[in-house]
């Protein structure tokens, strides 16, 4: 009997260098990244453009090899697609051949994943239902809206029933309603036991997903932890309330004091998620400059 590994995704000392230009100038995309993700966890990669989020996902998908260190998915080296059966990868805004139908495209990807024709047929029907595209199976891919195309992209990542999902900006370019539907879909997949690693620039969407936050800057992980820690709940937490009467305020202050907390009025300086995010990036930049 083999116990399920406590870590599904593991990056150990991963550095990735790209050679740029004719002179082969080295550009460091990832710098000594260490990360461990538990089964069923949802991890959101945050960070500015060029911070290494997509590179990290590509390494996990086996599209690229790390310069040093190792990327493992369920204990298998991800390099050269060795762990491909366990991974579902959705790149940022892929463009599918417009002439194929949704069903045919998914069957094609299912068969490329190694499923035989009958299994591909069965998995395609199941995944179409999961992502809500069952009534569009016979529709040409070229006629789908951006939101539906993103759902199709998610469907192709799911069609071979992988344990780990790698999603590169799944809501990029999608309208708010479409983005909300996509997030609901991602939460549903997590509830089904899938381990999800996704990158995004949308802080509110990331907060809505909860789970672990991995903040990256210049190829380094500068924060990795739960959302409550990221938002600063360890030091302070902000709540918006209706105007409180002095008696109610005193009562609340006493209740908090009994639990070791102090009540303060945030007033107009309401710390937004965006402010926390920028603050953490600035802190990391300051530390880097001082060293």
């Amino acid at each position: 009997m083999s116990a399920e590994p406590a870590v599904v995704v593991e990056l150990a000392g991963v550095t990735k260098d790209y050679c740029v230009g004719l002179r082969g100038v080295r550009l460091r995309a990832l710098d000594r990244v260490n990360l461990r993700i538990a089964p069923g966890e949802i991890s959101v990669l945050l960070g500015p453009n060029g911070s290494g989020k997509s590179t990290l996902l590509k390494l996990l998908a086996g599209l690229q090899a790390p310069s040093t260190g190792s990327c493992r998915v369920q204990g298998i080296e991800a390099e050269r697609g060795r762990a491909s059966g366990r991974i579902g990868y959705m790149p940022e805004s892929p463009v599918f051949p417009g002439g194929m139908t949704v069903g045919a495209l998914l069957r094609h990807y299912a068969e490329l994943s190694g499923l035989d024709q009958s299994a591909a047929q069965r998995c395609t029907a199941a995944v179409l239902e999961t992502v809500g595209l069952l009534n569009r199976a016979a529709v040409k891919v070229g006629t789908l809206s951006k939101g539906l195309t993103q759902r199709l992209a998610l469907a192709q990542a799911l069609v071979h029933e992988p344990e780990v999902l790698l999603l590169d900006e799944p809501t990029a370019g999608v309208d708010p309603r479409g983005a909300e539907e996509m997030l609901a879909l991602i939460r549903k997949l997590q509830a089904l036991g899938r381990t999800i690693v996704l990158s995004t620039h949308q802080l509110e969407q990331a907060a809505a997903l909860g789970g672990r936050v991995v903040l990256m800057q210049a190829g380094r992980v500068i924060f990795s932890g739960h959302w409550s820690d990221f938002a600063g709940a360890g030091e302070s937490a902000c709540f918006r309330t209706e105007p409180l009467s002095p008696a109610m305020r005193d009562e609340l202050a006493a209740w908090l004091a009994a639990r070791g907390h102090t009540l303060r009025d945030a007033g107009g300086a309401w710390p937004t998620l965006r402010a926390r995010y920028l603050e953490r990036l600035d802190d990391a930049t300051g530390k880097e400059l001082s060293t």
């Binding site: 790209y18 590509k58 998908a61 086996g62 599209l63 690229q64 050269r80 697609g81 060795r82 491909s84 059966g85 991974i87 990868y89 790149p91 940022e92 805004s93 892929p94 463009v95 599918f96 051949p97 002439g99 194929m100 094609h108 990807y109 068969e111 490329l112 994943s113 190694g114 192709q156 071979h160």
Partner: protein
């Protein structure tokens, strides 16, 4: 092999939906059918050779253009649309990807050759019949054309375009964009045709001789793929040449694809 077949089939399906393929095929068919108007001039028995030369010229030129443009297109479409990511993340190897793409283009080139032949053969047959009725003594052997020879000549042109497609696929693996890959592909087409010309200059010795040896023995010699004499001389003797030519083409195709796989492994996707 299953993945190669799946990629090849998808590539063929996508290529057939390209407007450029349809336009090129229509233009080639119109050109071949247009050779019927040569009967307006009084070329005598030479007319048949004119028609065959023009038909095979169109076959060769069109297949070469298709090999360059379609191969570049199917490769860069996958890269730029990020669908290559989806294939590689599924465990499709670089060699399976390139072989699948080459397979799709090979089928497309075969289809182009077949369709053009189905137009060229009736044209040649119609003119042969008419000319034999007009001048029964105009042809030495009592017939103008050997249709088995027509097939062999067409097969050789298809092989030539296949070698070109595999070379262009190799170029595409390290080209930055499709324009540079197409430009280098056209350059290769010219260079692969220069073997015969350099042989003339190289017969005097010196550096032209070395250059001639280099081009003729390192790079494929496209002049060797011209088996159009079989159209008039009969297929005898050309079957063996076509078999040797197949080995020659497969060897070069394998080298180009091997180099392409090595380069694609180094390329950051």
């Amino acid at each position: 092999m299953r993945r190669v077949r799946l990629i090849a089939t998808a590539t063929l399906r996508e290529s057939l939906q390209q407007r450029s393929f349809g336009l090129l095929l229509l233009a080639a068919l119109a050109f071949v059918a247009g050779t019927l108007f040569l009967r307006q001039f009084n070329f005598g028995s030479s007319e048949l050779k004119f028609v065959a030369d023009l038909g095979f010229g169109m076959l060769s030129l069109g297949a070469a253009l298709l090999a360059i443009t379609m191969t570049t297109q199917v490769f860069f479409d996958e890269c730029e649309r990020r669908t290559l990511h989806l294939l590689l993340a599924r465990g499709v190897s670089r060699s399976e990807f390139l072989l699948g793409k080459l397979g799709g283009v090979t089928l497309l080139l075969g289809l182009y050759t077949f369709v053009l032949l189905t137009c060229l053969c009736p044209v040649l047959w119609a003119r042969e019949t008419a000319l034999l009725a007009l001048m029964p003594d105009g042809f030495e052997r009592g017939y103008g054309l050997n249709f088995a020879g027509v097939m062999i000549a067409a097969y050789a042109f298809w092989l030539k375009s296949w070698v070109l497609a595999s070379a262009v696929l190799w170029l595409a693996t390290f080209a930055q964009n499709r324009i540079s890959a197409m430009g280098c592909g056209l350059l290769l087409l010219v260079i692969f045709h220069t073997g015969g010309v350099l042989a003339v200059y190289g017969s005097n010795g010196g550096w032209p001789a070395w250059l001639s040896y280099g081009v003729r023995y390192i790079l494929p010699d496209f002049a060797a793929f011209d088996l159009t004499p079989a159209v008039f001389e009969g297929a005898d003797g050309f079957v063996g040449r076509a078999a040797r030519l197949t080995l020659y083409a497969v060897l070069y195709g394998a080298v180009f694809i091997g180099l392409g796989v090595l380069q694609l492994r180094r390329r950051e996707i």
